[in-house]
Amino acid sequence: MITFSRQQLKIPRLQRPVYLVTAGQSKFDRAFPDKRTEELCIDAFTMAAGLLDISPAELKQYIHSCYYGHFADHFGDQLLGESVIHDRLGLDPLGNVGVKTGGATGGSTLWEGMKAVASGYSDCVLVMGWERMDEVPTDEGNFLISCAADKDWESPLGHIYTGYYAVMAQRYWQIFGKSEESFRRTLAEISVKHHGYARFNPFAQSPMKITVDDVLNSPVVAYPLRALDCCLMSVGAACAILCDEDTATQLTKNSKNKPLRIYVAAGSHTLRPADRLDMAIPLLPNETADQYKDLGERFPGGDRYPGFTGFLAARIAAYYGYGMAGITDPTTDLDLVELHDAFTISDVQTYEDIGIRPYGYGRDYVESGDCYHTNPHTGQPGKLPSNLSGGLIGCMHSVGATGIMQTFEVATHIWHRWEELHGDAQLWQKFNRVKPDDWTSLQVEGAKRGMAISHAGVGSHVTSTILMDPDHLLAKDA
């Protein structure tokens, strides 16, 4: 049984507040035969400067150190790719560092940037992430992704990451889904929702108007997961600028962007699910120990925690993040979330890990309609809309950029600029994409607080990035 010490459970405390003032991203796609990675990074950076109504050269004057998220050197076939990008952005001789934590790379890069500002090392930092996943075909790409599993004990078993998630899906479905066909349809509904929201996002790679039956009839990859249950393989870049309060005020003085308070926390767990030892469920502020006492009776087999059905790293990232930001109940304290929907099943698992629903009841977040922009059952705004970008299933999973893309999306809602930045006809045209006739604004009205979850492997690293309008903080000293 694993236990944690008081020192390990200390809520992180920043030396000074940190603000996100702008962000930007490139178009996302399966391949860019006509663009180098640096061109995509410059697209993202130029957009970030544009949202502040200043030139890229002016924005660069403020930057003091740089944090680059780029997971897979073997995909891009370029070691020290960070140095290439840093040079092409014209940011030498500033200090820079590469960050690699699998699918959580984007979130971890924000984590590093935040700490640099909070500590006083820098007043303004660039956080930039990208991935180049089009230098090999899909089967070879699946092999490269599987290298993130244990190379001696797991990767040789099929060299396919979906398989490593499918065993969790099977276990979750049989225990918490009670093997019900209705639960399988709920999983499919997540894919329908995310491909559907991607239709309104010009940056998104996989907009699709599909049905639950389309998902259930898509080819099996690793039963019970089908092709449309799985995230995308993408190319693209995203960036954010983080600052102290004085710099944030200066940089946003002529802009529609309001500086947003940012808190980032991180957790981890074993690379191999095989190694996960039993433990008591660590509790979030909206939970009590009593509520899980009879979990094994309600869901036979469900009392082995985290086993193959929970992500301890996500729970710990939420525990630290909620403590830092003063969140006591994510569903009431937050206005929207962007979750790491690598697979439909991991989306549901995450609802429970981060306390949107108790363990065993994740499906209710979808079935109640709470996760939608507009609740399909009531026609009213969803209680906590998720993945309005389309997420990893509909928008992109350009690994090093993903957590930053999610954070960009959350910020656009709090800035009340979602409609402007996603509805711009010129942008659709520039990306050579057709804006749908039924394009609908997904702006979450009155959004003040949001969160992005960035997740690696089968739960080896997870970060929680929380953004808040500084006039709507939940804790005075946070």
Binding site: D152, I160, L225, P273, A274
Partner: protein, 196 residues
Amino acid sequence: MSMFGQVFVKDNKYKIKGDFHHLTPNTPIRDADDGWKLLGVTNPRDMTYMHSYGGEAIFFESLSQGKLLATRCDNSGCGTRGTTYIPFRIHCPDCLGKNSIIDLTAVARKSARIHTFMVCERSGAFNLLDKPIKFINIEFDGVATILMSYLSLGEPKFGMRVLPIFKTSGPTFTILDLSWVPEGTPQEQLPEGFTF
């Protein structure tokens, strides 16, 4: 004539023989929609790595001898003393002392059962297993962890009793030398090269 790279160790140094890479020329990538203008090049690369199993080597060697090894922390000062690990852990994750190596074959034969599973229709490049691959995750009595492997015969089910089989003839010295079959499977049905 080329020969695949081969390696042995002498005086704690790698001694290599054969080809560790193969040369293939680059070819241009051109744009069929724009006058076949140059967009890039292919970068072929075929290279052999040399990988040490270190303290886990005995585990992989033992598979070829029909034995399933695990490790256990026997440090009397450790809070998790007595915990048994498979996958094999060279050191205890708590006290970081060196674990004892134990033979888990009999325990596996007596108690192995499927914790979860999945049937994989696709694979990544370099996969050597026949598809569909039946991944299984296996629980054992008295073991704290759950081993990932694959079922060679039958259809997996939750709680199903399975027996380990070992590739003792023509072993690959990888985790693929360990597989599982349903309890009651006769020897003659085992895949080629495997024994109980």
